[in-house]
């Protein structure tokens, strides 16, 4: 046991340092605070702001501030502030869930390709290349159009088309790490392949994968907004892209119906990208001096 404790202590020091680097970077900290604030707004906000986003509460197209509706109402007289608050939950949840799906697929494919090499790598990387050539939005549109637009199918569609970058990064990390001494030692002491892949190599390859996944969360949020803008969203929940898509026809009469949900997407994705940059600085000591 004492041996294990010692190891943990060796690992604990740099990680505390990493947190320090992350928190000392103002932009990363700002991003994190914004992200937490938006999440709180989405998950707890509806308890305090009780107007239903689907309810027609007032005259259609009443401008922001008028009649007590802070951000105005849309073409059906629904409260836009309520739509933004409730949309935050859906957009962020889909963003994280879809990024997890692509992370899962990407790490799986990249890990096996990098670890085994040979024809397995050849086939898996061909598949990855194919998904880089495929226009992802169109493919996701086809999936959602054919299998119905529920939150689940949208999440899976986004996740299933955007894993290629994770797979490439995972593979190149595996190619590098599997030659290192400690992996060879672990192999010599009789670890199984799965053990080597997931318990020995993967933890050491985690840093760039985490950074890429953080960026994928932001990309998934804009992706979902794009699908919703094209009318491919779950009609039972409200999301930011859906609000823009629904009001698209009326932008020339009521620009605010499109501006505010767009700002919500922009600020959230920007925050995620700042967090991603901060993670990159904290986890990549080589780049820190730049």
């Amino acid at each position: 046991m004492s041996h294990l404790d010692e190891q943990e202590e060796i690992q604990a020091k740099p990680s505390r340092e990493m947190v320090g680097v992350f928190l000392r970077s103002y932009s990363a900290l700002t991003g994190l605070i914004i992200l937490i604030a938006v999440s709180i707004m989405g998950f707890i906000g509806p308890i305090f702001y009780t107007i239903d986003p689907f309810d027609m509460v007032w005259m259609p197209f009443s401008p922001p501030g008028a009649d007590g509706y802070l951000l105005g109402t849309d073409y059906l007289g629904r409260d836009i502030l309520s739509q933004i608050i409730n949309g935050a939950r859906v957009s962020i949840a889909i963003g994280f869930a879809a990024a997890s799906v692509s992370c899962f697929i990407g790490v799986g494919i990249g890990a096996f390709a990098g670890f085994y090499g040979g024809w397995i790598e050849e086939i898996l990387m061909r598949i990855t290349e194919f998904f880089q050539v495929l226009p992802t939005l169109l493919f996701a549109m086809v999936i959602v159009a054919l299998f119905g637009s529920s939150v689940l199918s949208i999440t899976v569609a986004i996740g299933a088309v955007s894993w290629a970058s994770v797979a490439r990064i995972t593979r190149s990390e595996f190619l590098r790490i599997k030659e290192l001494d400690f992996v060879q030692a672990s192999k010599a002491s009789g670890s199984s392949d799965l053990n080597l892949i997931f318990l020995v190599i993967l933890p050491n390859a985690a840093a760039p994968i985490i950074v890429q996944s953080a960026l994928l969360v932001g990309a998934a949020i804009t992706f979902e907004a794009g699908l919703a803008f094209l009318g491919l969203s779950d009609p039972n929940v409200v999301s930011w892209g859906q609000v823009i898509g629904a009001n698209r026809t009326y932008i020339l009469d009521a620009t605010y119906t499109v501006t505010f949900p767009g700002i919500a997407i922009f600020v959230t994705v920007l925050a995620i990208s700042l967090v991603g940059d901060g993670l990159n600085d904290a986890l990549n000591p080589k780049l820190r001096s730049r």
Partner: protein
Amino acid sequence: MLTVLLVVIILNFLMLHLAPGDIADTIAATMGGADEKDMIQLRTEYGLDQPFFIQLFQYVIKVAMLDLGNSHFYNMPVFDLIMERLPATLLLVFSAQIVSLSLGILLGVYAAQNPNGLSSLFVNMLSLFGYAAPVFWTGILLLIAFSLYIPIFPVAGMRDVTIESDNFFVHAFDVARHLFLPMITLASIFLAYYSRLCRASMLEVLGADFVRTAKAKGLSQRDILMKHALKNSLSPVITFAGLSFSAVVSGAILVETVYSWPGLGTLAFNSIIARDTPVLLGILIFSTLMVTVGNLLTDMVLRSIDPRIQGSQ
């Protein structure tokens, strides 16, 4: 390239096969219902009672003969429909790529000369914006700004039908005027990526030994930048531009929808609303084809600027 197309076609078939409902259901639905006997007859007619692999084979052969089925919304062959819309999308995608690439390189080179200056800050801000702003939202904002408040560009479409002229240039100018906003919208995202990448790659090259040699020889700053450094820093940017083609096509779908640009994107949008699956699948095949052609062109450009790249890599 052919393998990619074949895989897309097979994928299309798989999705059609796995999705709930089949063509017989769709036809029955448009006819207002059919009894069990008619359904069986329909399925035999369309070969849906054949084994899986024979159906797959038949589908691939059909697509290879450019028969993509019929659009039940537009009531014409999908292939003709796509051919009608393809030029508009090609114009948008390639002009956006060219504009974003050339502006991005200019901006990147300029920013690299002053790594901590204002221009570098601008490039960094731009890349954050390009990542965070949804392209359709940028498009709507530009549309509001330059068609509504300052009406210098048309709101939608590709041509002004009221122009009566036989002069080619009058029409070309008209299309260019309509193209400007969609192109700038689409180019803005990629401009952000390309300028950031070009700046980074330029900075790396400027620290290399051969640049120091060039400086020691007494070459002017302009010669060093344009003749020595730029050529060596271009290939990662161009490679990335090639990889971005699929993203540009995806973005074009959204941008076209915003500006009602009469290309494949608006067609895809309309066919989603009309539940016109054959059209959607046809567009997927053709846009993949467009991306692979774009990749081939990128490879040719790369090979011409960098003689070290050879062979089929």
